[in-house]
Amino acid sequence: MSDAIRPFLAVVSARYRTLLQYRAAAFAGFATQLFWGAIRLMILAAFFAAATEPQPMNLTEVVAYVWLGQALLGMLPWNVDADFREQVRDGTVAYDLLRPLDLYSYWFGRTLAFRVAAPTLRGVPMVLFSMVLLPIVGLGDWALTPPASAFALAGFVASLVVAAMLATAVTLLAHISLLWTISGIGMDRILTVLVTVFSGLIVPLPLFPDWLQPFLNWQPFRGLADVPYRIYSGNIPAAEIGGELLFVLVWTIALVLLGRLILLRGVRRMVVQGG
């Protein structure tokens, strides 16, 4: 067992270290997301100020939703790995086929590292800022509140692990599609739209019109953001956490199987670029 896993761990940690080199870019990204979060909060709070009837979420839950969204933005599968795109374009992707590893698992490890490194760099300072610093400077109303309960925290951590898997499975579908489209520019755009809207990043999903809720509740992208953030704030009650986790897990497994199937076809008809 350990012999089978070791190569993937090595790949994960190597990618991770590479990505952690770009600290200036990380700082710029942090500042951008801080600003973005502040603007989103002021817009949503202004809407809430006019609300006369009870809403499916209260403002405190929305504040947590926005800050967690900014902290974990990099984990959302909204783009493809530029290194991977380059590999497909110049044909070096063929080397991956020669490795004595299961191709899908190898790529899964690589993609997981790509998805997880960015949020660690940006997420920790974002949480510290929004949870600790904001109350200190007297902006407690805008601060990220602690999780609703110890159980909610545990559920949140578990849902993040599943969300990372789901994000990787979705990104990998996009990566595999590169074998057909090569440039992947169109894919990137479509992914961004799908993911940002249906994960709840643009507007928290519970605030969408009621007639859309049945559809929103069954689509996979809510497992990326909506589910973890609402578990954190207690908007999803403790009793429903298990069911939600199972829901996301089933979607993840389905998308992994779909990815494997498409990859199998892709490798069979792949034309390697370059001479």
């Binding site: 603007i39 202004a46 006019a50 643009i202």
Partner: protein, 267 residues
């Protein structure tokens, strides 16, 4: 050849180049269009849920949103050379070649590319403005239309200036940093909503430091013909877009300081 004719020739060459890659241009334009539509859809969702935004209607906010998107698209269309300056010119050392030519660097970079995919943001932006204009039943008077055009011209100068500043930073950092996205993309997001909903410090920043509200919120309040909850006078609202041109003047001054400091990376 005078500067204007040269700029037109630069841009014509760029257009012909892009039309060689129709599929890639269409795809990118479609992506921009989708982003704009989603932004509006996000606003609609919130209005559907909450009814109004401290007294502003959906059509009014859509008017803000459409105007700033169209304005930004034009600015970006003209400033692509500055947008990609770090990667294309500083990192490679290719800026040397621009300095050797007997024309200003600003002119040459403005002529770098007329990026057609920006139309994907411009067209929906304009459609939204026209639809909101009709939904609000605003009379089609020359002074309103003229003021909107003036505000948008100031806005184009403003966003062009932001791109110039972003490019200027590359003289120090070599690579373009994501930091300016706060003011460009973040500016579009901010200006899509009426200014009074923001915190006092944000309002001051976007009026006096980075005059985003002077090319967006203030003149549009006058175009809409409503009273500004912040209590500004009509005279101020009508003349505010001048700040966009002043901002461009400052940005070009800073750019020239940066050029003087430039040392080539080329070998």
């Amino acid at each position: 050849m005078n500067s204007a004719a040269l700029l037109v020739r630069y841009l014509a060459i760029s257009l012909r180049g892009q039309l060689q890659y129709r599929a890639s241009f269409l795809m990118a334009a479609l992506g921009n269009l989708l982003n704009c539509v989603i932004e509006l859809a996000g606003i609609w969702v919130l209005f559907d849920r909450f009814g109004n935004l401290s007294g502003w209607s959906f059509a009014e906010v859509a008017f803000f949103c459409g105007t700033v998107n169209a304005t930004y698209a034009i600015g970006e269309l003209l400033a692509t050379g500055f947008d990609q300056f770090g990667t294309l010119y500083v990192k490679t050392g290719d800026f040397d070649r621009l300095l050797l030519r007997p024309r200003s660097t600003v002119l040459q970079l403005a002529g770098h590319e007329l990026s057609l995919r920006r139309l994907g943001r411009l067209l929906p932006g304009l459609v939204i403005v026209i639809a909101a204009w009709a939904a609000l039943d605003l009379p089609l008077q020359a002074d309103r239309v003229g003021l909107l055009a003036f505000a948008m011209a100031g806005g184009v100068a403003f966003f062009f200036a932001l791109m110039v500043l972003q490019a200027t930073m590359c003289f120090w950092t070599t690579e373009s940093l994501e930091l300016m996205n706060i003011l460009t993309y973040g500016g579009v997001e901010t200006a899509s909503y009426p200014l009074p909903i923001y915190h006092r410090l944000f309002r001051r920043f976007f009026t006096f430091v980075v005059p985003l509200a002077c090319i967006g919120y203030f003149p549009i309040v006058a175009v809409l013909g409503v009273d500004d909850p912040l209590g500004t006078s009509r005279l101020f609202q009508v003349t505010a877009p001048l700040a966009g041109f002043a901002f461009l003047g400052v940005a070009i001054g800073v750019w020239q300081l940066g050029v003087r400091r430039y040392t080539s990376t080329g070998s």
